[in-house]
Symmetry: C2
Subunit: 513 residues, 2 copies
Amino acid sequence: MKVQVAGLSVCAVPSYSTAIVEDKTYLLPKSGAEEMTRGFLQELFNILLSYICKSSQRSSKVLDFHHPHQLKEGLEGFNLDVPDQPETLEQLLVDCRDTLKYGVNTGHPRFFNQLSSGLDVIGLAGEWLTSTANTNMFTYEVSPVFILMEEALLKKMQQIVGWSGDEGDGLFCPGGTISNLYSILVARYYFYPEVKTRGMGALPQLALFTSEHSHYSLKKSAAVLGMGSENVVLVKCDERGKMIPIELEAAIIAAEKKGLVPFYVNATAGTTVYGAFDPINAIADICQRRTLWMHVDAAWGGSLLMSDRHKMKLQGIGRAWSVTWNPHKMMGVPLQCSVILVKKRGLLHDCNELGATYLFQMDKPYDVSYDTGDKSIQCGRHVDVFKLWLMWKAKGAQGFGTQVNKCLENAEYLYDQLQKRGDFELPEHSNVCFWYIPPSLRGLTPGPDRDTRLHQVAPKIKGRMLEKGSVMIGYQPLGPKVNFFRCVFSNPATQQEDIDFLLEEIARLGRDL
Amino acid sequence: MKVQVAGLSVCAVPSYSTAIVEDKTYLLPKSGAEEMTRGFLQELFNILLSYICKSSQRSSKVLDFHHPHQLKEGLEGFNLDVPDQPETLEQLLVDCRDTLKYGVNTGHPRFFNQLSSGLDVIGLAGEWLTSTANTNMFTYEVSPVFILMEEALLKKMQQIVGWSGDEGDGLFCPGGTISNLYSILVARYYFYPEVKTRGMGALPQLALFTSEHSHYSLKKSAAVLGMGSENVVLVKCDERGKMIPIELEAAIIAAEKKGLVPFYVNATAGTTVYGAFDPINAIADICQRRTLWMHVDAAWGGSLLMSDRHKMKLQGIGRAWSVTWNPHKMMGVPLQCSVILVKKRGLLHDCNELGATYLFQMDKPYDVSYDTGDKSIQCGRHVDVFKLWLMWKAKGAQGFGTQVNKCLENAEYLYDQLQKRGDFELPEHSNVCFWYIPPSLRGLTPGPDRDTRLHQVAPKIKGRMLEKGSVMIGYQPLGPKVNFFRCVFSNPATQQEDIDFLLEEIARLGRDL
């Protein structure tokens, strides 16, 4: 029997016509199902491989956009509803192909839309193995190898941050927001351990400080943790998006005057929109003098620590008490891979442990300090470490450095190109943020009228971009600045020709606006 | 060139001797690297397939146990440390093989250690595709298909719970603990929306109620959310582990007398240790009368809703205001796949939204109500829906029902076998929990001395089990009950012969204790 998967190399799937009729899958663990299983997975593998190869082809589209109602109507028979009765293996393979077809190719060299992009083959291999191992990070007994890999990588990352050998702890978390949430959680527990049992009612009204350009996860976490988003004080930034240290000092004093108790400061290493680096050392000085918890959100910028050329942008990070670092961003690790590092060993455990006797028995026949699950706010925790471990083996620390350098060279190249052209305007460096100025707006004097019209340019171009599927880039307003494009580089597949294409395509799509 | 991977079918990986020396991987997205990529991934695929086939073979070990220090010493050259310089593709494949070799085979028919087990081939295919698509659940523009699949599955699960078409909301979450955390978070926001901006300081001292047998995630979440673990009142259970409704009523009154404000009750559908189902309707009556948020933690028991034979155990679940349900448990979906359902539409969004302008622009060219990321406490969110979607297509709702029935038949079989034997004692039903009584203890009268000795039996047998690698099962004490084994069934690979083997193996390993 042949499986019909249009446009793909088709290989034989063993016949299952003799299988019990009502069971249309007939795969392992059923006995005698090895050949069928092999055939099905090989066919799926071919579909995935074909997608992977297409991923880096510039001739392919970044996406084949459809509106929600179009996809829900069932394009070419692609039915999103789930059935009561089983479907055939052939239909499942068609569904897999369609799922990829109507999705977004985040590995495409012209996908600039998110801080996470690219498709690293080794990282992908790591994820395939992880899902095949299908286990859980809570105890050593079910994850001996992954628990030790986590220990090894956390230690390595702590060294890179600049902590000495006898300090440092951490966890792999489901995303940078959760990592930032951990930083506030352990900071609160460090100063007020009674919060764990008694709650915020037993504490004074606490205040947190972070820059106005920092990620929204600080506010979100404060809301979740019962501290209130309005107690997150947003400190003013300079025109490049960096926190102004004297403004921090002033904000702390103002909060104290209002009766709040400052306890936590976040410095951002690589803001989401501008890619700005807060002055870590100056902020650390203030935190040290006032005994405040010092966190560095290096979710985006942490990868620069892998580059000898760029790591000085995070100078002083070793003074932080906790650090968020997302290898799934510029290091190109598949989603998700985020790390929270905490300098004081044992704090994560003390803050979160509840000692459930069905998981964390103390009379187990091995060293139970390796049952790290009680450090976590999760119970079951996905294995996010292996893909990073395997990529690190493949590239070495050096290879990550080269990859990061390449991303920053791309940003410099785009910046240079923008400066050479007359139809773009630059508000900021690093992440490269810019406006496209269509011919109709070029003569206008800056002011509210021009701003109103310019504000509509980026969304319109983005809409045309999605329809055409040729390239993807994000946009947003910020403070008084109307909608601008933000170009971020984290995809090793991106070359200078893709950057040229991006600018030309924006100009092509926006010329008549 | 041949890749040496001992004990596996070896296929040719294209030579890369002509590649640039310092880049030892030479894979896509490098141009011309298609063949190398194909060869490497095909080789990895063979390793994974060999593991998958071995997974269900009873002749293979469940695990090849080593202590942490042994693995860290580098068994047979398996080095867990990450290097500065890249390693070869051949070495990576050897590392992949070793990672699986020293891990735990959670798909083995004799792995009874966790509530999640088994290795579903379709679910695995879903995970492989998910990691190949490598995208993020925050916006429709980067996840059009997965966002719509999430909507379709949430709607289906809401229907199954018994909610009408115009109510119901939800999210896929990184594990059941986070799902339970969401239930408390939205409950708090529902009664006290000011908590989001002002924090717990603006609220009275709240109290939560859950049974003494419920999962520790309720206490952990209360600690994280700043509500204090001691404000989680543990309500007494009957001897089967079910919450006693009049005890709940009494606990609520007692809390009020202490000045606390009751607002939230959790009923557990399938407790972690005994597998007990709280009387949902009786608890719902109390919640309704007193206008308390009613959550059902059906992380473990929710799958029984798929079975016509067993769904009556969750009678009344439609009256819940929120439900946790983990398809990664008895439905056999690969880790992680957990769902929080919330009856009141819009509440998740209002509770968590912050409207970050770089992600959730309102001037996008499509219906932005599909940008569901602001409902989440995460920013980036892993795609956990596709594997469930694909399995649902493969099995249909019916197939899941059959699978659940099989797990419960296995439990009944074990129960029957235990009753027939003289060397085991049964404290409880459902999840099957039992003691093994070695010959040396059989004459002793029940009492403290016998208990002290019996307490050591399960850990000793577990230790021998790990060393031998023949089977895996968990144990724990509970209240006054000394260490007992807990057998849980969620693995479709498990047959009656495996249950017979388990009992015989325990008797073999414990005979001389």
